[in-house]
Symmetry: C2
Subunit: 232 residues, 2 copies
DNA sequence: GCAAAAGTGTTTGGATTACACCCATGC
DNA sequence: GCATGGGTGTAATCCAAACACTTTTGC
């Protein structure tokens, strides 16, 4: 850090954090969008974000944004790319860091607030024009999510706590944008520590599927003691 | 972006960019370190970095830092994590974005300049205490490099233009911190478009190895037309 | 000839793929 | 009974690991 220009003159930036909130339902991965209630880009759809407060770590800012909008707490956040084109924000030099959060869509009741005139879930592959460079942010973040789904057991943050293997399979099919063989998918799932709840799906007009739950405790043990590594 | 605090009061941040410059030689991956000639942390070892200028994109800042120190140009840069703990910089709120560059160590003659009292290459696994949170930055960036080495043909940015298969193998051995079987390694390399130069290694007291060169043109064709994807 | 590393072939077992089949439920 | 998806087994194939062997150079 060779400060070739007077140090103080650099304190004229702003730093924001944009958070893509992912949810899953019925075979599709969604992002939570807000209709901006403030300038710039008032009235346009965007992902939630805010400036980072002076005493906040980046992940704290992400948590704050997430909690204000969804009222859920204790969600794991994942850092994405940072976007810093000089002209990306019409009101000044704002560099933004992307984060993403995985929530259980059915548990969330996001409501409009001071930031947002309106709020909606939209399937990732059906999002059209957003404010700022938010399309780019959503795309890069979704790509990162897809990569992480293959190497970390984070699909369980999107699925309901109790889920069927078919729901899980459809999540992977959407993320990989391809169909998978049922029997082979289940063979791949075998080594993952799941608890078979021996409960059945209800109100379906076919043979009801078994419900499962991720065994996070056994997962940690496996990682530590047996050198297990999640792979899908 | 709900500006709940007056917008202007946020323009009191600074944004920097730190660049880990990786090189390879003799079975080891190195990082280029500088001994700081300025406060804070004067006299301590650190990775090169600077504040991002007002009209610069992040990658431009990374290029600038790289070029000033190494005099090389046209190097591909890779973005890493962003670090923003409120107290990470003793002089104020400085958020930093990590980048990394891959250079051919033998082609570089980095020299001390106004930033740096001294400059040196150090093997990644032998770096001790650095200034700021730079150890964390180096580690996270190296991890990212190792991941990318598996899915992108970037080892050729580290290797000399003409290299032997054994040099390539040792690069992967260092990055994965494990030994590999020669025969199996070569089988894996088979599908990669390499040009066999039919030139031999010189001044070795054993059978001289063949020299190869990465065929980047054929690589692009393969990716486009045959759906090839690099994998190691 | 010997040491050292280059370079190649074969065997084996485990994982992945494709596909076929049976099962339980609602209507 | 039939439509719908749940759930499982098998054979064929591909791939990766282990290992042995031959080749070429300097001394």
């Amino acid at each position: 850090m060779g400060y070739k220009i007077k140090f103080d003159s650099f304190f004229s930036y702003s730093f924001s954090l944009d958070c893509v909130i992912f949810g899953y339902e019925n075979g599709k991965i969604y992002a939570l969008l807000i209709k901006r209630a403030i300038e710039p880009f008032i009235g346009e759809w965007a992902i939630p974000g805010d400036l980072v407060y002076p005493d906040e770590d980046l992940s704290d800012a992400a948590s704050r944004i997430l909690t204000e909008l969804t009222k859920v707490d204790g969600v794991t956040l994942h850092q994405g790319q940072t976007f810093g084109k000089p002209k990306r924000h019409p009101q000044g030099r704002v560099i933004t860091n992307a984060y993403f959060a995985l929530v259980r869509k059915e548990d969330i009741n996001a409501e409009a607030d001071s930031w947002a005139e309106e709020v909606k879930w939209l399937p990732i592959r059906e999002i059209s024009q957003l404010a700022f460079d938010h399309n780019e942010i959503v795309e890069s973040t979704f790509e990162l999510l897809c990569q992480k789904l293959k190497r970390e057991p984070i699909c369980f943050d999107l699925l309901q706590e109790k889920f069927t293997l078919n729901e899980m399979q459809q999540l992977y099919e959407y993320s990989q944008n391809s169909e998978l063989d049922k029997a082979n998918f289940r063979k791949k799932v075998k080594p993952i520590p799941l608890i078979n709840l021996h409960e059945k799906q209800k109100n379906v007009k076919h043979r009801p599927a078994n419900l499962f739950k991720f065994d996070s405790q056994r997962y940690s043990e496996l990682v530590k003691e047996e050198n297990y590594s999640f792979r899908m």
